[in-house]
Protein backbone atom coordinates (compact mmCIF):
# COMPACT_ATOMS: atom_id res chain seq x y z
CA UNK A 1 0.00 0.00 0.00
CA UNK A 2 2.47 2.70 0.99
CA UNK A 3 4.04 5.09 -1.48
CA UNK A 4 6.79 6.85 0.47
CA UNK A 5 8.25 9.96 -1.12
CA UNK A 6 11.48 11.56 0.07
CA UNK A 7 11.39 15.25 -0.68
CA UNK A 8 13.44 18.32 0.08
CA UNK A 9 14.51 21.04 -2.32
CA UNK A 10 17.92 21.01 -0.62
CA UNK A 11 20.58 18.69 -2.00
CA UNK A 12 22.85 16.60 0.23
CA UNK A 13 20.43 16.22 3.14
CA UNK A 14 20.31 12.43 2.87
CA UNK A 15 17.30 11.72 0.66
CA UNK A 16 19.00 9.02 -1.40
CA UNK A 17 20.75 7.52 1.61
CA UNK A 18 17.51 7.38 3.58
CA UNK A 19 15.63 5.95 0.55
CA UNK A 20 18.23 3.26 0.01
CA UNK A 21 18.61 2.35 3.68
CA UNK A 22 14.83 2.08 4.05
CA UNK A 23 14.46 0.07 0.86
CA UNK A 24 17.19 -2.42 1.66
CA UNK A 25 16.17 -2.74 5.33
CA UNK A 26 12.60 -3.63 4.36
CA UNK A 27 13.68 -5.88 1.47
CA UNK A 28 16.18 -7.77 3.65
CA UNK A 29 13.33 -8.50 6.06
CA UNK A 30 11.08 -9.97 3.40
CA UNK A 31 9.05 -7.06 1.97
CA UNK A 32 8.89 -6.49 -1.78
CA UNK A 33 10.06 -2.94 -2.44
CA UNK A 34 10.38 -0.77 -5.53
CA UNK A 35 12.67 2.24 -5.31
CA UNK A 36 11.97 4.81 -8.01
CA UNK A 37 15.08 6.87 -8.67
CA UNK A 38 13.74 10.19 -9.90
CA UNK A 39 16.98 12.09 -9.34
CA UNK A 40 18.70 12.89 -12.66
CA UNK A 41 22.02 12.03 -10.98
CA UNK A 42 20.64 8.48 -10.61
CA UNK A 43 22.42 7.59 -7.34
CA UNK A 44 20.25 4.54 -6.67
CA UNK A 45 20.40 3.31 -10.27
CA UNK A 46 24.19 3.53 -9.90
CA UNK A 47 24.03 1.55 -6.64
CA UNK A 48 21.84 -1.10 -8.33
CA UNK A 49 24.57 -1.66 -10.92
CA UNK A 50 26.81 -2.95 -8.10
CA UNK A 51 26.48 -6.51 -6.79
CA UNK A 52 24.35 -7.49 -3.80
CA UNK A 53 20.98 -5.90 -4.60
CA UNK A 54 18.45 -7.77 -2.41
CA UNK A 55 16.19 -10.03 -4.43
CA UNK A 56 13.04 -8.38 -3.09
CA UNK A 57 14.16 -4.92 -4.18
CA UNK A 58 13.55 -3.50 -7.62
CA UNK A 59 15.03 -0.19 -8.82
CA UNK A 60 13.23 1.81 -11.48
CA UNK A 61 14.56 4.95 -13.13
CA UNK A 62 12.11 7.75 -13.90
CA UNK A 63 13.15 11.39 -14.26
CA UNK A 64 10.31 12.63 -16.43
CA UNK A 65 7.54 14.86 -15.13
CA UNK A 66 5.11 13.22 -17.52
CA UNK A 67 5.99 9.67 -16.54
CA UNK A 68 6.45 9.86 -12.77
CA UNK A 69 2.77 9.36 -11.84
CA UNK A 70 2.29 6.33 -14.16
CA UNK A 71 5.61 4.91 -12.85
CA UNK A 72 4.44 5.25 -9.23
CA UNK A 73 1.03 3.70 -10.02
CA UNK A 74 2.63 0.79 -11.85
CA UNK A 75 5.10 0.14 -9.01
CA UNK A 76 2.38 0.40 -6.35
CA UNK A 77 0.29 -2.23 -8.15
CA UNK A 78 3.31 -4.57 -8.23
CA UNK A 79 4.95 -4.20 -4.80
CA UNK A 80 3.58 -3.24 -1.37
CA UNK A 81 6.32 -0.68 -0.72
CA UNK A 82 7.23 2.05 -3.18
CA UNK A 83 9.95 4.50 -2.21
CA UNK A 84 10.52 7.54 -4.42
CA UNK A 85 13.87 9.33 -4.25
CA UNK A 86 13.72 12.85 -5.68
CA UNK A 87 16.25 15.41 -6.78
CA UNK A 88 17.15 18.14 -4.31
CA UNK A 89 15.61 21.00 -6.26
CA UNK A 90 12.25 22.74 -6.27
CA UNK A 91 10.85 21.25 -9.44
CA UNK A 92 7.49 20.11 -10.73
CA UNK A 93 8.42 16.42 -10.70
CA UNK A 94 8.64 16.66 -6.89
CA UNK A 95 5.09 18.01 -6.84
CA UNK A 96 3.74 15.22 -9.05
CA UNK A 97 5.39 12.57 -6.87
CA UNK A 98 4.04 14.14 -3.67
CA UNK A 99 0.53 14.09 -5.17
CA UNK A 100 0.70 10.25 -5.13
CA UNK A 101 2.32 9.87 -1.70
CA UNK A 102 0.90 8.03 1.29
CA UNK A 103 3.72 9.50 3.35
CA UNK A 104 6.19 12.25 2.52
CA UNK A 105 9.47 12.06 4.43
CA UNK A 106 11.33 15.35 4.55
CA UNK A 107 14.96 14.76 5.50
CA UNK A 108 16.82 17.72 6.92
CA UNK A 109 20.10 18.29 8.66
CA UNK A 110 20.18 20.07 11.96
CA UNK A 111 20.89 23.56 10.68
CA UNK A 112 18.70 26.57 10.09
CA UNK A 113 19.68 26.71 6.44
CA UNK A 114 18.51 23.15 5.88
CA UNK A 115 15.44 23.65 8.03
CA UNK A 116 14.36 26.56 5.83
CA UNK A 117 14.55 24.34 2.75
CA UNK A 118 12.63 21.59 4.49
CA UNK A 119 9.93 24.16 5.24
CA UNK A 120 9.52 24.70 1.48
CA UNK A 121 8.79 21.01 0.97
CA UNK A 122 6.27 21.10 3.82
CA UNK A 123 4.67 24.19 2.32
CA UNK A 124 4.29 22.33 -0.99
CA UNK A 125 2.66 19.38 0.77
CA UNK A 126 0.23 21.74 2.52
CA UNK A 127 -0.58 23.58 -0.69
CA UNK A 128 -1.23 20.29 -2.49
CA UNK A 129 -3.49 19.09 0.29
CA UNK A 130 -5.60 22.16 -0.29
CA UNK A 131 -5.72 21.80 -4.07
CA UNK A 132 -6.23 18.02 -4.11
CA UNK A 133 -8.68 17.96 -1.20
CA UNK A 134 -6.93 15.17 0.69
CA UNK A 135 -4.53 14.85 3.59
CA UNK A 136 -0.95 14.03 2.64
CA UNK A 137 0.80 12.73 5.76
CA UNK A 138 4.38 13.89 6.17
CA UNK A 139 7.17 13.78 8.73
CA UNK A 140 10.58 15.34 9.06
CA UNK A 141 13.61 13.17 9.76
CA UNK A 142 16.79 14.75 11.02
CA UNK A 143 19.75 13.30 9.20
CA UNK A 144 23.51 13.08 9.41
CA UNK A 145 23.59 13.70 13.12
CA UNK A 146 26.46 12.69 15.34
CA UNK A 147 26.09 9.66 17.60
CA UNK A 148 28.25 11.37 20.21
CA UNK A 149 27.20 15.01 20.41
CA UNK A 150 24.03 17.06 20.10
CA UNK A 151 25.04 20.54 18.98
CA UNK A 152 23.04 23.53 20.24
CA UNK A 153 21.97 24.47 16.71
CA UNK A 154 20.47 21.03 16.20
CA UNK A 155 18.62 21.28 19.51
CA UNK A 156 17.26 24.67 18.48
CA UNK A 157 16.08 23.37 15.07
CA UNK A 158 14.37 20.43 16.78
CA UNK A 159 12.66 22.82 19.17
CA UNK A 160 11.48 25.05 16.30
CA UNK A 161 10.01 22.04 14.49
CA UNK A 162 8.28 20.84 17.64
CA UNK A 163 6.92 24.33 18.36
CA UNK A 164 5.54 24.53 14.83
CA UNK A 165 3.75 21.20 15.36
CA UNK A 166 5.67 19.54 12.52
CA UNK A 167 5.46 15.73 12.74
CA UNK A 168 8.92 14.28 13.25
CA UNK A 169 10.62 10.91 13.39
CA UNK A 170 12.00 10.21 16.86
CA UNK A 171 14.82 8.27 15.19
CA UNK A 172 17.48 10.33 13.50
CA UNK A 173 19.62 9.05 10.63
CA UNK A 174 23.08 9.24 12.10
CA UNK A 175 26.17 10.17 10.13
CA UNK A 176 27.54 6.64 9.78
CA UNK A 177 30.22 5.42 7.41
CA UNK A 178 28.21 2.31 6.39
CA UNK A 179 25.44 4.55 4.98
CA UNK A 180 28.01 5.95 2.56
CA UNK A 181 29.80 2.63 2.04
CA UNK A 182 26.75 0.90 0.52
CA UNK A 183 26.96 3.35 -2.40
CA UNK A 184 30.52 2.30 -3.16
CA UNK A 185 30.48 -1.38 -2.17
CA UNK A 186 26.88 -2.16 -3.18
CA UNK A 187 24.24 -4.34 -1.55
CA UNK A 188 22.67 -3.71 1.83
CA UNK A 189 24.14 -2.80 5.21
CA UNK A 190 23.95 -6.48 6.21
CA UNK A 191 26.32 -7.44 3.37
CA UNK A 192 29.02 -4.92 4.25
CA UNK A 193 32.20 -6.61 5.48
CA UNK A 194 32.53 -5.80 9.18
CA UNK A 195 36.31 -5.59 8.88
CA UNK A 196 35.99 -2.73 6.36
CA UNK A 197 33.10 -0.90 7.98
CA UNK A 198 33.49 -1.25 11.69
CA UNK A 199 30.31 0.58 12.66
CA UNK A 200 28.12 -1.69 10.51
CA UNK A 201 26.08 -3.14 13.37
CA UNK A 202 25.37 0.30 14.81
CA UNK A 203 24.22 1.45 11.36
CA UNK A 204 21.96 -1.60 11.00
CA UNK A 205 20.45 -0.85 14.42
CA UNK A 206 19.85 2.76 13.34
CA UNK A 207 18.27 1.64 10.06
CA UNK A 208 16.04 -0.88 11.85
CA UNK A 209 14.88 1.70 14.36
CA UNK A 210 14.03 4.13 11.57
CA UNK A 211 12.25 1.51 9.43
CA UNK A 212 10.35 0.27 12.48
CA UNK A 213 9.17 3.80 13.26
CA UNK A 214 8.15 4.19 9.62
CA UNK A 215 5.99 1.05 9.88
CA UNK A 216 4.37 2.50 13.01
CA UNK A 217 3.57 5.71 11.14
CA UNK A 218 2.13 3.77 8.20
CA UNK A 219 -0.08 1.78 10.57
CA UNK A 220 -1.27 5.03 12.15
CA UNK A 221 -2.03 6.49 8.71
CA UNK A 222 -3.88 3.31 7.67
CA UNK A 223 -5.83 3.41 10.94
CA UNK A 224 -6.74 7.05 10.42
CA UNK A 225 -7.95 6.27 6.91
CA UNK A 226 -10.24 3.57 8.29
CA UNK A 227 -8.51 0.23 7.78
CA UNK A 228 -7.33 0.02 4.20
CA UNK A 229 -5.47 -2.68 2.29
CA UNK A 230 -2.95 -3.31 5.07
CA UNK A 231 -5.69 -4.58 7.37
CA UNK A 232 -4.98 -4.94 11.05
CA UNK A 233 -5.45 -8.71 11.03
CA UNK A 234 -1.99 -9.08 9.57
CA UNK A 235 -2.81 -12.17 7.54
CA UNK A 236 -0.71 -12.87 4.51
CA UNK A 237 -2.40 -12.62 1.16
CA UNK A 238 -3.43 -15.99 -0.20
Amino acid sequence: MPVIVLASPKGGVGKSTTALVLGTTLAERGAAVTVIDADPNQPIVGWAALPGVPQALDVVSCTSEKEIIPAIKEAAARTPFVIVDLEGTANLLVAYAISRADLVIVPTQGSHLDGKEAAKAIQLVKEQEEYLGRTIPFAVVITRTSAAIRPKTLQHVEQLLRDAGIPMFRTQMLDREPFRAVFSIGGSLENLPQREVSTRDAAIANAEAFASELLEKLDDIAGAEGGPENGADGEEAA
Partner: protein, 111 residues
Protein backbone atom coordinates in the same frame (compact mmCIF):
# COMPACT_ATOMS: atom_id res chain seq x y z
CA UNK B 1 17.45 -9.85 30.17
CA UNK B 2 17.15 -13.61 30.03
CA UNK B 3 13.78 -14.77 28.81
CA UNK B 4 12.62 -11.25 27.84
CA UNK B 5 10.59 -11.29 24.62
CA UNK B 6 10.77 -8.23 22.39
CA UNK B 7 8.23 -7.61 19.65
CA UNK B 8 9.69 -7.94 16.16
CA UNK B 9 8.54 -4.87 14.20
CA UNK B 10 9.33 -6.65 10.93
CA UNK B 11 7.51 -9.87 11.78
CA UNK B 12 4.32 -8.95 10.02
CA UNK B 13 5.30 -7.12 6.83
CA UNK B 14 2.71 -9.14 4.92
CA UNK B 15 0.02 -6.75 6.18
CA UNK B 16 1.21 -4.28 3.54
CA UNK B 17 -0.16 -5.22 0.14
CA UNK B 18 0.25 -3.79 -3.36
CA UNK B 19 -2.43 -1.27 -4.30
CA UNK B 20 -5.38 -2.41 -6.33
CA UNK B 21 -5.21 -0.43 -9.59
CA UNK B 22 -7.92 2.20 -9.45
CA UNK B 23 -10.35 2.74 -12.27
CA UNK B 24 -9.79 5.89 -14.33
CA UNK B 25 -9.18 8.78 -11.96
CA UNK B 26 -9.72 12.43 -12.74
CA UNK B 27 -6.56 14.08 -14.04
CA UNK B 28 -5.34 16.31 -11.20
CA UNK B 29 -2.13 17.40 -12.86
CA UNK B 30 -3.41 20.97 -13.35
CA UNK B 31 -4.11 21.28 -9.61
CA UNK B 32 -0.71 19.81 -8.76
CA UNK B 33 0.96 22.24 -11.14
CA UNK B 34 -0.87 25.24 -9.69
CA UNK B 35 0.00 24.23 -6.12
CA UNK B 36 3.62 23.67 -7.18
CA UNK B 37 3.91 27.04 -8.88
CA UNK B 38 2.43 28.84 -5.87
CA UNK B 39 5.23 27.41 -3.72
CA UNK B 40 8.04 28.02 -6.18
CA UNK B 41 8.34 24.49 -7.60
CA UNK B 42 8.76 24.98 -11.35
CA UNK B 43 9.08 22.65 -14.30
CA UNK B 44 12.69 22.08 -15.32
CA UNK B 45 11.81 20.40 -18.56
CA UNK B 46 12.15 22.46 -21.74
CA UNK B 47 8.88 22.90 -23.61
CA UNK B 48 8.59 20.49 -26.52
CA UNK B 49 9.77 22.28 -29.61
CA UNK B 50 7.77 21.96 -32.77
CA UNK B 51 9.53 20.00 -35.42
CA UNK B 52 11.32 22.13 -38.01
CA UNK B 53 9.99 21.62 -41.45
CA UNK B 54 12.41 23.95 -43.13
CA UNK B 55 14.34 21.78 -45.55
CA UNK B 56 14.94 23.29 -48.96
CA UNK B 57 12.47 22.01 -51.50
CA UNK B 58 13.13 24.07 -54.63
CA UNK B 59 9.58 25.43 -54.47
CA UNK B 60 9.38 29.20 -54.73
CA UNK B 61 5.76 30.29 -54.44
CA UNK B 62 4.20 30.92 -51.05
CA UNK B 63 0.65 29.67 -50.52
CA UNK B 64 -1.30 30.98 -47.54
CA UNK B 65 -4.86 30.16 -46.62
CA UNK B 66 -7.12 29.73 -43.63
CA UNK B 67 -8.32 26.28 -42.63
CA UNK B 68 -10.49 24.70 -39.97
CA UNK B 69 -8.46 23.40 -37.00
CA UNK B 70 -9.23 19.77 -37.94
CA UNK B 71 -7.90 20.05 -41.50
CA UNK B 72 -4.96 22.16 -40.29
CA UNK B 73 -4.01 19.38 -37.86
CA UNK B 74 -4.49 16.76 -40.58
CA UNK B 75 -2.03 18.55 -42.87
CA UNK B 76 0.63 18.48 -40.15
CA UNK B 77 -0.16 14.91 -39.07
CA UNK B 78 0.36 13.83 -42.69
CA UNK B 79 3.54 15.91 -42.92
CA UNK B 80 4.90 14.42 -39.68
CA UNK B 81 4.25 10.87 -40.83
CA UNK B 82 1.71 10.26 -38.06
CA UNK B 83 -0.83 8.79 -40.49
CA UNK B 84 1.24 6.41 -42.60
CA UNK B 85 4.73 6.63 -41.12
CA UNK B 86 6.07 8.64 -44.04
CA UNK B 87 7.23 12.22 -43.49
CA UNK B 88 6.48 14.81 -46.17
CA UNK B 89 6.86 18.52 -46.68
CA UNK B 90 3.68 20.49 -46.09
CA UNK B 91 3.85 21.46 -49.77
CA UNK B 92 4.02 17.78 -50.72
CA UNK B 93 0.90 17.05 -48.67
CA UNK B 94 -0.99 19.72 -50.59
CA UNK B 95 0.43 18.60 -53.94
CA UNK B 96 -0.53 14.98 -53.33
CA UNK B 97 -4.00 16.01 -52.12
CA UNK B 98 -4.47 18.10 -55.28
CA UNK B 99 -3.26 15.22 -57.48
CA UNK B 100 -5.80 12.94 -55.78
CA UNK B 101 -8.57 15.49 -56.34
CA UNK B 102 -7.64 15.83 -60.00
CA UNK B 103 -7.72 12.03 -60.38
CA UNK B 104 -11.13 11.92 -58.73
CA UNK B 105 -12.39 14.60 -61.08
CA UNK B 106 -10.86 12.76 -64.04
CA UNK B 107 -9.11 15.96 -64.99
CA UNK B 108 -5.69 16.39 -66.53
CA UNK B 109 -3.11 18.47 -64.65
CA UNK B 110 -1.90 21.41 -66.73
CA UNK B 111 1.90 21.58 -67.05
Amino acid sequence: MAGEQRANPFGNLGRFKPKTPEPAEPDQSASVKTAAERTGFQSREAPVKKKRRGRRSGRTRAFTTKMTPDYHDLVYRLADGEVDGRERLVSEVIEQALDALMRELGAERAG
